[in-house]
């Protein structure tokens, strides 16, 4: 991921996106690093500008990445939604990577816990340890990939239920159900408020 990527031509990115949406895994594999690299670069710049009280807007980051990569693309709603899906995944990777870096910095101290607030990503609920969330999401993905994807898009991508539905080719009702269950499951996992799962 560290290798510098050539400036991809917007047309090529568009082509990749269309192919990836068509289920072409190779196209997805080519596309993901591009999106990831672009997002990472923008995120790094934003984090340098970090000020007290300022929050990192994944929204703005993904938006900018989109504009940079797909300058002149005329994409359908579904293709754009698909891009968001990829961007959400990339955003997750970037945040995890950052959280790990912070943990490494603080090594030696105790109670190392990087919350989403630390990552400048405030949510309305209780604060969450990013790395723990990632682990729980991986466990959830083993139970049901779709539930984990919905969380990824909703949370890391900042997508609404309808947008998530468009990105995953699901009905909004399905996404809503998946979101409710996945959130309940993660809440229990992460807050540990209740006895461990029987699953």
């Amino acid at each position: 991921m560290e290798r510098p990527l050539p400036n991809p031509s917007p047309g090529a990115v568009t082509e990749l996106l269309k192919n990836a949406r068509g289920g072409n895994q190779a196209a997805f594999n080519d596309l993901f690093p591009l999106v990831y690299a672009e997002l990472r670069r923008i995120a790094a710049r934003e984090m340098r500008r970090e000020k007290p009280g300022r929050t990192l807007q994944t929204t703005a980051l993904v938006h900018e990445a989109y504009l940079r990569l797909l300058k002149d693309a005329s994409l359908s709603f579904e293709n754009r939604a698909h891009f968001l899906g990829i961007a959400a995944h990339a955003m997750r990777e970037i945040l995890i990577e950052r959280a790990r870096a912070r943990v490494a910095q603080k090594r030696g101290g105790h109670a190392v816990r990087v919350t989403l607030e630390d990552m400048l990503l405030p949510t309305r609920g209780p604060s969450v340890d990013v790395l723990a969330l990632d682990e729980s999401l991986q466990r959830l993905a083993r139970l049901d990939e779709r539930h984990a994807r919905v969380v990824e898009l909703r949370y890391f991508g900042g997508l609404s239920v309808e947008e998530t539905a468009a990105a995953l080719d699901l009905s909004p009702a399905t996404v809503k159900r998946a979101w409710t269950l996945a959130r309940a499951w993660l809440y229990r996992e992460l807050t540990g408020a209740l006895p461990p799962a029987a699953t």
């Binding site: 797909l70 709603f77 609920g125 969450v128 997508l159 947008e163 229990r188 209740l194 006895p195 699953t199």
Partner: protein
């Protein structure tokens, strides 16, 4: 692992089904559904319990990225792109509802505006249906001060509003670029907007999102209200304004009326409140209720009394203060009973401003305005015609007048009268010609010529009066006629002409100084 996955599917299904039941029936439902599998039941109950407390958990604050991205077509529509039969030329702007492009209707070969609505606003069928309904209603509104909607098109699943294109700038752009409007221009735009509102209200259509962004002032001076009825179609009726979430607001909080902020859908009087806010901003360049954040603005709209206009803009007349204050009444029933009353007040204000000396310079030459009463135009033509006759008479008779006056200056006098009357008459014939054949330019021509016509009239009247005093000694009757002509010209220049012109071209902005 597969065992766990199967188990998960079961848990998921029971969770969904239990979720749909009232809380006190969930346990009973699970008892039956789990058929003795107490572990399964415990698991689902635990998740239900966690779900009940997980509200807001993992839900990012602020608008989702998709709201920006999926709805944002900036990246997708570049110049030359075709949307249906429309060829995109350039982006004109972005608003809460979508992106607006200048496009060419390739079927009809005319320029149009193409507003591509955010998919988030048009995703579900009930909203699309309501939008279609509202667009039909708005399309039925034909008025010079309302932006014309040509069509609502469903292009590749995206709803687009096709509208008339008029070169110009929105009031917001003008405020941002040039600061507050000169008083006469502000009132002029306000009169036009009020007329547009009145026409819409008479058709039972309420704007609900009037703001400087939605007022287009054409390069020709005509003001048009944009997005009629669309705001309402997009804002779900049941949605209360969500002012507490940063970045998520329905409508524009700064231009909402108190009743809208309190959750009512509002009626035509809410438009009047928004109108007052806009007018205040046009005159002062300041929002009357500006707070640091949307919620504080909303709080000020509910409670604060704005600083009077006249204390911010010393040129602002008291009458304008009163109009704005009446629009900004907190209680709808204390505002104007209808937009027509507002139009009347503003028109009288425009007239008194036009009559007032030394009004601030116009930002743009005054131009074509809303059509006036046709009889006023006839009156204006007659007026101009009579003046041209008098001036021709003077020009023709100038030689004899000069010789009757006699003395060493007679040739100078002759030349001066001839030049002044011919110049004056030519300008008036020109105006008559323009008014008849290229009415679009009449207002601009009037703005340019009126100060000169006034000066010429006064000069001619003065010279004729001076000559008359000389002629009186020898030819009393002729002297009296000349004196009468001079008096008539003076009165015309000072009183009659401003009236006939303002009645025929009601803008009040091309006032002579």
């Amino acid at each position: 692992m597969t065992v766990t996955n199967d188990r998960w599917a079961l848990v998921a299904e029971l969770f969904d089904r239990a979720q749909q039941r009232p809380r006190d029936e969930q346990a009973a439902f699970l008892d039956e559904a789990c058929a003795g599998d107490s572990e399964l039941k415990a698991e689902v109950l635990a998740l239900l319990d966690a779900g009940g407390r997980a509200d807001g958990f993992l839900t990012p604050r602020g608008p989702g990225v998709g709201a920006l991205l999926l709805g944002d077509s900036t990246a997708t529509l570049q110049a030359g792109a075709m949307v249906g039969s429309y060829r995109i030329k350039r982006e004109l702007g972005q608003g809460g509802m979508g992106v607006v492009y200048l496009a060419e209707d390739t079927r009809l070969g005319r320029p149009v505006t193409l507003k591509v609505l955010h998919p988030r606003d048009t995703a579900d069928e009930t909203r699309r249906e309501r939008l279609r309904f509202e667009a039909r209603a708005a399309a039925a509104l034909v008025h010079p001060n309302i932006g014309t909607v040509h069509a609502l098109e469903d292009l590749d699943g995206q709803l687009c509003i096709v509208g008339e294109f008029m070169p110009g700038r929105t009031a917001r752009e003008m405020l941002d670029a040039d600061g507050p409007f000169p008083l006469t221009e502000a009132v002029d735009v306000a009169v036009q907007v009020a007329r547009g509102l009145d026409a819409a209200h008479q058709h039972g259509i309420i704007h609900r999102d009037l703001k400087p962004e939605n007022i287009l002032v054409g390069d020709n001076g005509v003001a048009r209200i944009l997005d009629f009825g669309i705001a309402r179609a997009i804002t779900p009726r049941s949605d209360r304004p969500r002012l507490t979430e940063t970045g998520v607001t329905i409508g524009t909080p700064g231009y909402m009326s108190p009743e809208q902020i309190e959750g009512s859908a509002g009626d035509f009087r809410s438009d009047l409140f928004a109108f007052g806010t806009v007018l205040y901003e046009l005159v002062t360049g300041r929002h009357p209720f500006q707070g640091a954040t949307a919620p504080s603005t909303a709080a000020r709209i509910l409670t604060a009394e704005p600083v009077p206009l006249s204390s911010l803009n010393p040129l602002s007349p008291r009458q304008l203060d009163a109009v704005v204050a009446r629009c900004l009444e907190k209680r709808p029933e204390e505002r104007y009973a209808c937009a027509a009353d507002l139009v009347k007040e503003l028109e009288s204000l425009a007239r008194s401003l036009a009559g007032r000396a030394a009004t601030p310079a116009l930002r743009t030459p005054a131009t074509e305005a809303a059509p006036a009463d046709p009889s006023a135009r006839v009156l204006w033509r007659i007026h101009q015609g009579i003046l041209v006759c008098i001036l021709s008479g003077l020009a023709i008779s100038s030689w004899w007048v000069a010789s009757w006056v006699g003395g060493p200056f007679r040739y100078t006098l002759f030349a001066a009268v001839l030049a002044l009357t011919v110049a004056n008459g030519t300008m008036r014939v020109h105006l008559l010609f323009v008014e008849r054949h290229t009415p679009a330019f009449i207002a601009a021509q009037l703005a340019r010529t009126r100060p000169w016509l006034l000066r010429l009239d006064v000069l001619v009247a003065l010279i004729v009066a001076l000559s008359a005093t000389q002629v009186l000694a020898n030819h009393q009757a002729l002297g009296a006629v000349l004196l009468a002509v001079s008096a008539a010209m003076a009165v015309t220049a000072w009183a009659i002409e401003p009236t006939t012109t303002d009645m025929a071209f009601p803008r009040g902005s091309h006032s002579s100084s």
